[in-house]
Subunit: 216 residues, 2 copies
């Protein structure tokens, strides 16, 4: 059994570098459109340039990084129009997942959704938008998971990764949580009622609302 020591060098360098870099981008440590110089990253993470390079190639196809031939890599900036287009795709894919979840979820899983709904109501009542945003994300993740639709889950996780920056922006908008909450509760109710069509429709109208909000 290999011990869980940090693979600082010479072990699983690429995976290490990849995880580090991905997290750095997702957490917003890297400024948007910041240049990503392979040498700097290699030194920063204590791996060789080849490993950084491999990680960058992977991150590019995840849509988190932009690479131009002989010009280098940048953190990709997602414009508002792109965010809208991405959310349109989320709309139909999460709709699919919700419909399946309404049929496939176990009773225990439905209870989890109920609990999440109550926690979200409390977060809004207490005026904690950050907590609410986290729960929001968690709810969507649970619904995806309960659907058992692995392909859709994969696509959605990739799409969501590209939206981190926009999500924070949206959660802090005044009045937004209140409107969002009722839509989320409707989603939960439809799934609990095991009504696939209603679940799909609830998710779609919720994300249609998100799109309106994105457009301001």
């Amino acid at each position: 059994m290999p011990k869980e020591a940090r693979p600082s060098t010479g072990e699983q360098a690429r995976q290490h570098a990849l995880a580090q870099l991905r997290q750095a981008i997702l957490q917003g440590d890297m400024a948007p459109a910041q240049r990503l110089v392979e040498n700097e990253l290699a030194e920063q993470f204590g791996v060789t340039r080849a490993s950084v390079r491999a990680a960058l190639i992977e991150l590019e196809s995840e849509g988190l990084v932009e690479r131009i031939r002989n010009r280098g890599s940048r953190v990709r900036v997602v414009t508002v129009e792109e965010a809208v287009a991405i959310t349109e795709c989320r709309m139909v894919l999460e709709g699919l997942c919700a419909g399946k979840a309404a049929v496939e979820a176990t009773d225990e899983q439905l209870d989890q959704l109920t609990a999440l709904g109550e926690a979200m109501s409390k977060a809004v009542a207490d005026g904690e938008p950050v907590t609410y945003s986290d729960l929001n994300h968690e709810l969507h993740a649970h619904i995806r998971q309960f659907s058992g639709q692995q392909v859709a889950v994969g696509l959605l996780e990739r799409l969501n990764a590209q939206l981190v920056r926009h999500r924070f922006q949206l959660a802090l908008r005044p009045g937004r949580p209140q409107k969002s909450l009722s839509e989320h509760l409707a989603m939960i109710d439809a799934i609990r009622a095991r009504d696939p069509q209603a679940a799909e429709e609830a998710v779609r109208s919720h994300l249609a609302g998100v799109i309106d909000a994105l457009r301001e």
Copy 2:
């Protein structure tokens, strides 16, 4: 202007190798589940191993290749269940595209769809399933394109690449083109009528039919 000479070595090796390998997999030159040894591929394509490696990393995240740590790469085999799951995602994403296409397409583009529909009818009448399959693919590609939804187009192209093997299998099934044709004509009519909801519904019921056929 750089001449179009083959970049056999030292030029754009990675892109060359990537294109070559992708095409080889898509055309079915590589047997399913065939082992992809980096050294062999490097020699076969006349590039270095690093380029092949980069190409494999990219193909992995496209879902065409499977890579296991320290064990090598294989051509990924898509099971029937996976093909169904993929087609479910196609169903909602192409539905989204069709709805947008019904609104966004120009009149010239609608004429193209009409022409495609007539060609498909002819191919079925003449009993040419291969021609029909090609036109089928072309029709779906056109609808995607006319939607202007770049994110959805990207996702769909990736999903479709994973289905090449199953598509052929389906097209040659007796009686399948006849059933499929009427569904396709319904899609075209709905888009020409500029009715987004009807277009989305037509696409979804068509692909629901494909799913049934996949399951046999």
